[in-house]
Symmetry: C2
Subunit: 186 residues, 2 copies
């Protein structure tokens, strides 16, 4: 049972609170950088598929004079599928492919799997980035002469992106560590 990124995003959001297709669309429109399409042509069919697979269930709820909204919530199978996805180990290949899916997973991890899992995620990610960034630098150094200035610069831009991710990872680890030390609350 392999789902698209959009489907996982929907599962994660529905885990946070039952929502209608319209609600979910608004989230995608309003939230910067979670740039999934806000088009109904993507979201409604995706919800339909998830319902057919038994991962979510929708029911029409006309709350307080508003027009009918179909609220979706996760089934137990849906929660299980979401957890399975979130528990996937942070792999080298995934890091190479890009940060998109990894950051989406991180955004849901703490809520669904707890703080310890989120911390583990960050540590695994940090490890992989500490391997990948030098790998990229090395590639740039050895290939430098075969590239145009623009090519070099474009690659440099990508490497800096990963370096920035690495910086963020250590920052995030510190944030988590501090929060777990200081207050046990919430």
């Amino acid at each position: 049972m392999s789902l698209s990124l959009l489907s996982y995003a929907l599962l994660g959001l529905l885990e946070q609170q039952p929502s209608s297709g319209y609600d979910l669309r608004k989230i995608f429109v309003q939230t910067p950088m979670w740039s999934y399409s806000d088009s109904p042509g993507a979201i409604y069919p995706a919800l339909e598929r998830l319902e057919k697979s038994g991962l979510i269930r929708g029911r029409v709820e006309a709350s307080a004079g508003l027009r009918q909204r179909k609220l979706f919530r996760l089934t137990s199978a849906g929660t299980a599928e979401l957890k399975k996805w979130l528990r996937k180990p942070v792999s080298r290949e995934e890091v190479v492919r890009g940060m998109g899916e990894l950051m989406l997973r991180f955004a849901f991890t703490e809520r669904v799997l707890g703080g310890a899992a989120a911390m583990q995620f960050l540590k695994d990610l940090e490890k992989e980035l500490r391997w990948y960034v030098p790998t990229l630098r090395e590639f740039l150094d050895t290939q430098e002469e075969a590239m145009t200035i623009s090519g070099r610069l474009a690659l440099e831009s990508g490497i800096r992106g990963y370096e920035s991710q690495l910086g963020w990872t250590t920052y995030a680890i510190a944030m988590y560590a501090e929060r777990n030390k200081g207050g046990t609350s919430s």
Copy 2:
């Protein structure tokens, strides 16, 4: 005539040198972060489409005992289409959507449109990033309390990515400025 990103990537690469589908695939496999799929099922049909649109022309060339390779090169219509794409102004919306297409365009700009165009591109990009980064920071500040820790951190990661891009942009501008001052060569 709107093409997919992959198609533009192929046009840009073919402008640099005539290549076979296999050559192009190798580039995607070997180059980190230009992560377009290396699958023949994407590249060969894309080349076919480009040929049907008259943007490239392929001819079989059996060079020196090797087995037959179909080498593609740009037609004048292809060059025109590539230039049209590269000349698109750097727009706010494009920056919000992500850096992917912009960096691909930058990688080809100098070669096809010349150094001045590349410099202009960078300056436009810098301007948009100087607008967008504070916008994102503001969003984070105002929404902070409504978000989970993971949500905040995920957003922070994205913002840092854009900040890193901004840093790179100024760096790249400096590189270009220096090169155009120092040596006129190549």
